[in-house]
Amino acid sequence: MALPKNLEDIRVRIEEYARNAGLDFFEVIFEILPWEEINMLAAYGGFPNRYPHWRFGMEYEELSKGYSYGLQRIYEMVINNDPCYAYLLDSNKEVDQKLVMAHVYAHCDFFKNNVYFAHTNRKMMDETANHATRIKKYIERYGIDTVEQFIDVCLSLDNLIDIHSPYIKRPHYSSKVEETTPKQKKFPVKKEYMSHFINPDTYEEKVEQKKIEPEKELKKVTYPIRDILLFLIQNAPLKEWQQDVMSIIREEAYYFAPQAQTKIMNEGWATFWHSRIMTRMALRDDELIDYADHHSGTVAIQPGGFNPYKIGLELFRDIEDRWNKGKFGREYEECEDMTRKRNWDLKLGLGLKKVFEVRRLYNDITFIDEFMTEEFAMRNKLFTYAYNEENNQYEIKSREFAEIKRQLLFMLTNNGNPIIDLIDDSFGNRQELLLKHQYEEVELHYEWAKETLRNLYFVWKRPVNLWTVFKGRGTLLSFDGKDFSEKAYSEPE
């Protein structure tokens, strides 16, 4: 439902405040919805049209339960799209709606300007609807069970993508999935002279060749391959509809990746601005208590928890303060007089300029790496925790700044996923896949790794292998379609 008159008036005002504050966003279309529908949309990741899949039903059940027990509610949701879509909960108070609108405009500014979103599809609303149509077509054709099972398999592999690939041009990527009928699959060839024997020409090809000479060279594959999903789409023995389903899953994975890459920044940015717009411009005196209540709920820290809203907000405020006062650069860093350092103020007034620059160029990793200072970590009581086997508990492990930063950056690297490359597709000269986990002192979840290998096998239809480290030793975990095997194996190149 579109906004009623009173909210529309508010919206116009908030939009003006936001523009005057320097935010630059797509047009935002607000809809106001009851909680059931908000929950439905949230279950679908904000898109009203998604392909049918049980996990959306699961999300929905969780959200509905959370809401009806009063544990959680979704105040707002905003979709990275041009125009941006934002959904408001109809039971929000007016002051909540104000806050949420300010929050939404800041999110939208972030979507539009942050460089990591530059490659996302801004017509994703249409795109997901297209995906839904395509998948529904396959369901009609092949049955829901077959298609859903294959979607499960694809989703299980959907973190095997290269989230940085849009920014780094890598030679072996031709990211365009062939839309036309795929040609008969060519087996990879290592020695050129074997080519004719491994991939004898089909009749059609012979005819083609006579017309156009010289023959196009087979695409040379260079390892390692990070975007394993793309490799599978292009090389695995899949049916046409399966290729299409997998490319849909891959595309959506790439669309959502930047949101995971910038969670702390994005939420921090939106919180930074809603607080600024509300307290400096939009808030009426009688709304103060409700605003304070809502805002403190947003930035509250559960004991032991980690709230990206809070950390992001505090970091942006810290940056603003430091650049306003000139607390950066060599002179400041090297100053050893703590009193002078604390009262450091060059009255530069560069704060706002700096935060806008940061929101354009950084992602969570670079953001934390560059701007999280030791003082900040202490002020926000950060710590690292680890699992203690003896009493089956997670315990505070350290409050050392270096340790905290290392742990945070580790959690953010590759969106928290282990880094896994495909390093050979004819392992042992037997057309087996060999994946390699870049071991960084943290082992994989063993059972899940096995189940994922099983799914990988389902796609590749030949044995699949994963090199990783289990219990401190290099291990080759293999699945041959029937059994898992595990053996000590030295790290492959």
Binding site: L33, E37, M40, A43, Y44, P48, R50, P52, H53, W54, R55, F56, G57, M58, Y60, K65, E148, L155, N159, L160, K263, I301, Q302, P303, G304, G305, F306, N307, P308, N380, K381, L382, F383, T384, Y385, Y387, E389, N392, Q393, Y394, E395, I396, K397, R399, L408, F410, M411, L412, G416, N417, I420, H437, V442, E443, L444, H445, Y446, E447, K450, T452
Partner: protein
Amino acid sequence: MALNIESDHNRFRKIVKGKIRENLRKFIKHSDMLGKKGKDIVSIPLPQIELPRFKHNPQKSGGVGQGDGDVGTPIGQGEDGQQGKGKAGNQPGVHIMEVELTIDELAEILGEELQLPRIQPRGKHKIESLRTRYRSIARVGPESLRHFKRTYKEALKRQIASGIYSLDNPVIIPIKEDIRYKSGKPMRTLESNAVIFYIMDISGSMGDEQKDIVRIESFWIDAWLRRHYPGLETRYIVHDIQAREVDREAFFSLRESGGTMISSAYLLLSDILEKSYPVDEWNIYAFHFSDGENWGDDDNKLCVETLSNRILNRINLFCYGQVASHYGEGDFIKVLEEHFKDTENISLSFIENRDAIYDSIKTFLGKGR
């Protein structure tokens, strides 16, 4: 907004029920759902259903949190399960999903999993239940029951009859006399009648664990039979050397020491049956739980006689469950086995521990009587 969440949600529920079915054995032996009935909702904790992915082991990866506490302060419980997963921004630990089902749904799953046959009730004509159904139309009634279609029809008829209606401007305005209401009438429906007798040995050898087993088993029996007989009655008999009828509360809490004369309970049961439950009107079930230590051969003989002459001819099903106790096991089950090998409506099972409940239920109810 037309959303498809319902079909996705249904598919998810189907998967969940499948999971419950797989783990039914585990759920059955827990006693936390006892005391719930048909439409009551029980929450069953299941590990969250997640698609497997290459993930770090949360127990190895640790994380970052905020708050007070020295090094070594515990901040969350780990789980032994395999499904653990800690995300940035969340508390560590396992995601447990509470799935809500009604006892009826659970009983249905139980029935499917144990492949329990449907029961064909007998005497389906006796009990009448009254239920109000809105099946007729009245001129007066509460606004909440206004029947829009009928009201519209009446108004249309009146307007046409009085010539107010015009095709060019087909506006229908109902007046007070046009308004019709839905009206309820009590309906009689026939239901078949059933009664369950639970009989338990409360002699000293039946300890808390044994009673828990009886309690859990009787709960599931109740749930299953209630699906077939909406107006199920339950009666409880306890016995040591004497038998008496008690209420549910007492049934599970009473504890005596001393000997056991099972015949006392069987005699009491047959008296009650003869007095209040005519065979052609009632579906009768009896479940007897004991540790099988009976007072001598004479009493055993009396039991067999009472059963064959006065009980088995009037009852749908007689079940005897022998619960293992600390004091060794009795031989009553062997006596029954010997005498009633070929009798159809008697069912015997030996319940060694909680894990055996599952199979015991199957033995008891698998006959479909």
